[in-house]
Symmetry: C2
Subunit: 261 residues, 2 copies
Amino acid sequence: MQQLIVVKIGGNIIDDEKQLNAFLESFVAIDGHKILVHGGGKIATEIGKKLGIEAKYVNGRRITDAATIDLVTMVYAGSINKKIVASLQALNCNAIGLTGADANLMPANKRPVKDIDYGFVGDVKSGQINTKILKTFLENDLAPVFAPLTHDGGGSMLNTNADTIAQELAKSMAALMDVQLVYCFEKKGVLSDPSNDGSVINEMNEQLFFGLKGKGIISEGMIPKLENAFAAIGKGVKKVIIGHAADFDKLIAGTEGTSII
Amino acid sequence: MQQLIVVKIGGNIIDDEKQLNAFLESFVAIDGHKILVHGGGKIATEIGKKLGIEAKYVNGRRITDAATIDLVTMVYAGSINKKIVASLQALNCNAIGLTGADANLMPANKRPVKDIDYGFVGDVKSGQINTKILKTFLENDLAPVFAPLTHDGGGSMLNTNADTIAQELAKSMAALMDVQLVYCFEKKGVLSDPSNDGSVINEMNEQLFFGLKGKGIISEGMIPKLENAFAAIGKGVKKVIIGHAADFDKLIAGTEGTSII
């Protein structure tokens, strides 16, 4: 089967032009098929403030109201996505910027209202990802660059977590290709001691995860990331790697970061 | 040869949700391959004002400085493009939003500084449009939706007139398909009497154009539109139609608007 690497980068890299450019150079250097998924970054909050759109929370959970979905669509699919696409093109990588609405790549359901109305937040319809057209793009040597947005099929864009988008893409493409999923974040990997950046766990399985979670060693922010990783492995993704974007080539080589197996 | 219709809509339609939706319904109703090119609209100016980015002019010509290219990239490729794509998806049209940077579809040169430095404005490299990938998109039943943006291949997005983008797409695709180009604007067609909206000229050739231009009957805004139209015809486009978006199906049927032959 053909190889595919799905990489997710977060706001911390996007906000730092030097880091972003260094990452993009190492991304371009990977041979073969690749997909990049990017998160948001501070720019949405900054532009939101200037436009008088403030971040809204209910019970500590962020809400995407109508003004906010317009804001993040503009910033994620416009500013951030096209900046990355143009930069990749400058590195001779034939990037194509996409959201879940484009080519109906990732239909989603607007999250149902239970205790909280999250607003325009999308839960991906996992079985309906347009893998056929994605494969066509890859076979035409395009490198898809995804903004963290889906759509409801009724004309509304929806806000969807970039980790989730990366996981859903990796899982669905695993039926067609040998897929590796790489989560880049601000740490060098999953740490056995949260206060010691050198304590990276090189390899982690589900048993070890439950053990560390039980002991409270794995921090709150890391739990959904690892759950995403194990969900991907459970659906046929060959390998998930978690680490720092600055180590990207070493993450791929397996000499840095945490490999989830 | 396969048929292709390239349609350009301007800001006046984009700014009016009811008109836009009516147009999109008639766009979806066309059989066969189609590409939509959209212009800007008031929203860029409105958001620019709130962000403190004012429209800049030198000798009466609009300048795209660094803040303005970031603004229009955000609004054109983010807000407007994704609104249209999501709306088309809701009408079961498999739209894909694009700029000239995506898939390196439309490389351009930053306009050289002569009397005026236009800033981040792109002149399309006509011979380098990625028609191969566009044809692949069309043959996979995708409907490309273009924002009026190109790129310089060096990492910068560039502002490019939507009429020009539509003309360049039509001309380059004419080598592969039978292409019709439709310019929708705020009038019912080219008028023989600018003060009388009923005086639409049904058919126009270059000779008639030069005659009317010489007599000052064709207004200033219409001249570049018609020059674009004749440039397209000269490069193999079968037909160019100019008229009102509300008459879209009649423009295609040839019962309304001005046909350029």
